[in-house]
């Protein structure tokens, strides 16, 4: 089960955070700060899987943004979640057309919506980009009308 999904930049600023278990704001800030420091301290020759505070953490860097997934320590397919991160980025890229950090900052509700279509209750529910973006396309169309 996924416990949290984060998008954090190199300066430690969180651009998107979705938690699937309850953590207080203070705990979240501490966790996010520790995770980004841990990710920054690793070099490219090291694998993308670490353990931190009882979570199995999978991360991947895209430009200045780190996509971080924290899961339970029980056996999970890390490679699959690494590919899920890439799937998420591709979906965001498809929607925002060459996505960057600012797109997520200025359209945070859209980013949340896309993530919610992909992950529910800590489980990945959808990986097909077309299926994920279909509802949000309808909403955008209704909004324009």
């Amino acid at each position: 089960m996924i416990n949290f999904i984060l998008m954090v930049n190199k300066q430690g600023q969180t651009r998107l955070a979705q938690y699937f278990q309850f953590l207080s704001v203070k705990e979240r800030m501490t966790l996010e700060g520790e995770l980004i420091r841990k990710c920054l301290s690793r070099n490219e020759s090291q694998c993308s899987f670490v353990e931190h505070r009882g979570y199995k953490v999978i991360y991947r860097r895209y430009a200045s943004l780190y996509f971080i997934i924290g899961m339970d320590l029980e056996e999970e397919n890390e490679m699959a979640y690494l590919e899920f991160i890439h799937n998420l980025v591709e979906t965001l890229d498809k929607y925002f057309e060459n996505v960057c950090e600012l797109d997520i900052m200025y359209n945070i509700e859209k980013a949340h919506y896309i993530l919610e279509e992909m992950v529910m209750n800590g489980q990945i529910v959808e990986t097909n980009k077309t299926q994920i973006l279909a509802p949000i396309a309808v909403i955008d169309k209704a909004k324009d009308e």
Binding site: F20, E109, V125, A142
Partner: protein, 707 residues
Amino acid sequence: MDQIFTRSLSDIVKLSKTTASYDQLTFQTQLITDIKNELQNKSESVRLQALLKLFFLSMEGNQIRWAEFLVIGQMGSPEPQIRITAFLLSHLVLDNQSQGLIMVTNILKKEFKSQYLEASSALSCFGAIANKDLGEQLFEEIISQINHSKPIIRKKVVAVLSKIFTESPQLIPSNLDKIIQLLKKEQNVAVLACGISLFSQVMKATPSIYPLIIPIVYDLLTKQKSNWLLIKLIRFSNKLIDKEPRFKQKLIEPYTRLLNQTSSKSLQYELIYSVMRYFKDYNLLFESASDILKQFLNHQDENLRSLGLECLVQIQNSDGINAFQDQLIEGFKKGDYFYKLQILQILKEYTTDKNSDIIIDFLLAQYDIESNSKVIEALIQIIQMNKFSNVNDPEKLMLQQIPMIAKKIDSIENAEKLRDLIFDLLIRVPDLQIYSHKIFMEILNGFSEISLNHEGPTLNIIQRSQQIKYSLNHREVLFKTLVMITGESTRLLDIDSLTILFNYLHDGDFYLTFENSILDLDQLIFKLVISSAQLHKDISQLNQQIQMSKIIYQKLHQLEIIGSQLLYESILLQEDFSLEKVQKYQEIFNKELPPIHLEAQKMIKRPIELDEPFEIDLNEIQLITQSDKQQQSSQNLEQKPPQEQEKVGEQLKDVELQQQNQNDDKQGLQITQEQPKQAPKQMRIIKDDILPPGISQNDIQQLNQDD
């Protein structure tokens, strides 16, 4: 009108970037006030922007639970966009303990029956915030949507049911059948994947339902092509195999087909993981998986290498893992620190006597400062494993491998582990005690070599006199142990071995640096002498060894230095330390030191750009002359002809140095002549080779002409 003055999310983001850090608190306080006001505004667009700004506040690390009732109020808004945004925000303002959940119940009930987009958002919101009570209250509404025409609704219903069944397992028996019927006819991959996740949760609560699930899982495994769904199916199948081992037989064919067909790394990893763990006895499948595993272990991608090791550990069998020994060794050479740690962990647990020699020799040959400590720890553990069952050649271990390990050790923790290892071997295995003196000498030679070459991370054993602060370091931990064990073993040694040891201690110096072990060495020497006395029949040889032991003892305790250190103390503490003796010592200490000999002065070259005139003190030169004369008469040296003499004294009688008068630029020499009572002496230097530095014969002639 309000819309003109309301700041949108974009405005807030831009303002936040331009606001100074010390103004941030003010900015956020103002923003919270604005949001509270805007959420009660009549305009829908204003309220929508306020909700979006709440997202921003949350990302900035602010607590937004104060907006709980305001957001719940927006969930009931007539505008779909606002409702959807409020549902998205719900997980940030509500949790399963919130009191506002009571108010959400009716809103969600109504929303489940509306348009599929709003229903989908409502289901997502429910999944994020539901607790046991809310789940039971809304269960009927949710389960009624299970056959919805839209797959997005069906998918979310199944996902949400997973959470309800986890909180309220009593609902499972009466409703599981509906879900099984849904999945049997379902075509949508996302719904099927959610269904497998649901089964996984249900199995945790009621494991006995597995016979109902196995047929569906097998059917999906044989027909589905979506990698994501296949990964979930394989992972779930592992849990089914634990419950029903006969299910393994059915899985061989689909697994073999998938292994041969798929190119997806994540699916391959899942398959290999499963095969290594459950299918060790099925040779064909195991070999196919092993080939792919070897590719993983040799892959350039560090993620695949790391996952390969995870799969390898699932074999849980030494012979199976040791078949991948070459890949592990290659991976260790190329991998980084963390990869090496993973490999060392595997080697520690699964090295056997069949491959221990290769592994130990390989690890001994490695030298990497970063991982050295961990390698040593692994080596010691491999040697000690299963009461030294991995040791095939004890002599090689004692005389080669242990000294090499001792040479590489760089921490006290590892030194203590090696110390315990040496204890175990030499004390508990009597036949090995005869090697104790050889190990002692080998290890000491190794330490000596490191110190002389200034190798290794610690240099606090260099020379005794240079140690300012001394602390018991890792080498001394081992040294003390070896000295103690060697001392205890002397009674087992023969005459030749005792002689070798005596000669080693007599000829060598390096052990003197272990200052904290002097008493231990005293004991060793004593035991050596006692053992020699018991064995030697020739008294002269015994006497020789006793003399050697005395010399070693003197070296250890540095009696000359101690003697000289005690000199002043012994003088001062004399009982008859009288005034006469004080005067005698005064003469020694008050006597003037002789001046520096002129020949010695000649050795010092005059600085090239020195423009300052220097003075020759005639009295000083006379003193030098007289002291030379006295020295010469006492030594009875043959006098050489005057021209060849380098004695300044005879030359001084004929030396004539004329003053060179320079007016303002102060160049050349100025010779000061003291005004003795006798007639002033003129100095004329005849030969260049005895001229003071900076003066040539031409200068003298010029001066003479000027005069």
